[in-house]
Symmetry: none
Subunit: 195 residues, 4 copies
């Protein structure tokens, strides 16, 4: 008696349990036992019914984060009219409250640290940021001269990633409002002569 929806539900549960455990645990590595317990499942091999192994679960978790983030970006951009609106939309998506929970930020940081030695994580990150960077570039192409596009897109990305990183270090020092303000301030200053 297949209940096709159950598997999807359980997968989501385990993925969010993973994010929670990354955030809560004092350990560097989330253990399957901790994740299982968080999801209300038995410690043993339940995870193996839904994921091939731990690495599979971790990749799925990163993809979930990436998907949520890209969804936020796409949603925000969709209603943007002008190029500058688009850029603002990307910035706002970056610092949307759904993307800036301590859980999400900590989980991102966790994955980022594994990128240099894990191509799967590197690929997900690469695909994710390419989406965003291309969004920025398409907007910038209408504003600045062609040879400035790459640097500017990369610069805006850097500001956002940097603030996210610093947010992960100390979520009290910088909040979402401030992050948005700083990013837009620097970006708009740079684009001032064009607009």
């Amino acid at each position: 008696m297949a209940r096709p929806g159950l598997e999807v539900i359980r997968k989501k549960e385990l993925i969010h349990a993973t994010i929670s455990v990354i955030y809560e645990t004092g350990l560097a590595e989330p253990t399957l036992a901790a994740i299982s317990a968080r999801a209300g499942l038995s410690s043993g091999g339940m995870i193996n019914h839904y994921f091939k192994n731990k690495q599979d679960l971790m990749e799925s978790t990163m993809r979930e984060l990436a998907g949520s983030f890209l969804g936020e970006v796409a949603f925000n951009v969709s209603s943007a009219k002008t190029p500058i609106d688009k850029i603002n939309a990307v910035i706002d998506a970056n610092f949307a409250s759904s993307q800036c929970t301590p859980e999400a930020v900590t989980a991102w940081l966790w994955f980022w640290a594994r990128i240099p030695t894990n191509t799967a994580y590197a690929d997900i990150e690469s695909a994710t940021e390419n989406h965003v960077i291309n969004e920025l570039k398409r907007a910038l192409e209408d504003i600045v001269s062609e040879h400035e596009v790459d640097d500017l897109a990369e610069g805006i990305m850097a500001i956002m990633y940097g603030l996210w990183l610093r947010f992960a270090f100390d979520s009290k020092k910088i909040n979402v409002e401030v992050a948005r303000r700083i990013t837009k301030d620097l970006t708009h200053s740079r684009l001032r002569t064009y607009i």
Copy 2:
């Protein structure tokens, strides 16, 4: 017959072996066995002669990275004349080639990811960035109006951290030259009206 320098030498060796292993290993965690092997020592407990335990070694490694970085900043800043020179000096120090080896950047990323759950790492990071941010603030106080100082210093830090992060993800896409250029471009644009 005490050889007083030996301990210092061995400690440095082990610290740099640690950085190497973080960079090279496919594993999330550098093992003491791998570090010992990298340093040409026996797999066993040699590390215990020089460090209290693994955590002690890791903290010492992070302090070594931080010390090297702050030394670079101090050296660069020392010869800066004007406030804007100081800011440039900080930026140049950030992207000095000694600070941007793949090993160093990967190691920093490794430590950053542990900050949320490791107060020792958090403290070292906090002390390090405070030094730099204060250097920036002192320079900015002479340039911009008072209420802008904090945001601007934080913004410059974010650009640098962001580029460093992206450099850690993919050292081919962004090199040191480009990073310096992008940072200065955004910073100078923002300060343009004042200078």
Copy 3:
């Protein structure tokens, strides 16, 4: 499909494996590997399913010994009519064959030696001997004058502990029969004027 009895069974198996290993091993410390092997389990971390850690296993083992001993005492005392019968019952329980196997005696000795530096063992020992000493005191109160009770109870305990100790050193020199005889001889001589 839960098999509720299995955990209890396995725990007992491991506890008795521990006692065996203490007796058999030439080493001062029974290793978990040896205990696992004795219980027919894998060398690794099976013990962790049933005990929190080694200390937990060791304490459980001591409690098992204590429980068995106190059960023997309670059983013997239950059918005693007169005070002197009670005292004899305690002595007989002390030297019941089930309590005087080389394994049991060696294990007791092992725990005793750790009492000065291990409060958990000290507490178990203390609780155990308090039971017995109180049993003796209740009987003695009906026989001797009040101010003699404490010394006498302590004296009888000392004889029994001393013989047990000497039995642990060399189980050939003193057997259970002799131990019982010596204890009763000394005790009855002391109580002679009263009975």
Copy 4:
């Protein structure tokens, strides 16, 4: 330039350091590092200049304890006139304050626990107690009938060992005075008909 006394002095230092460490350490096993530190020597192989290895040091320590104890017994017995005086002398030696320091008692307990699996310790213990038991037997032969001698000597030994054991468990509950009193009370009660 041989200084023959130095070796003896250092050996004693190390032996007493060993006793101290057994008493002080919270660990089950005294480590050579701890013993060396206690004796003010380097952690490394200094001990190997004076002892073949750890086992050699431990055996020497037990022999020191045994020698001190037998010396006390011999000294006390030497001035005893009557058989009963001799028995009292043995009892007093057993509970001489020099033999009942927490350090000594804990060390004895430590060695006792290893007797079942260490023939060297067993031999030292056996030789030691034989001395004492023979002293008792020689005295008892003049007092009681022949067939009672063995049991009585063994009984007196048991009382003394038992009280020592209980003293090791909790040095506050039973002190030297009480131990002497209990031992003599039981012994004299048993011998009452003869004297």
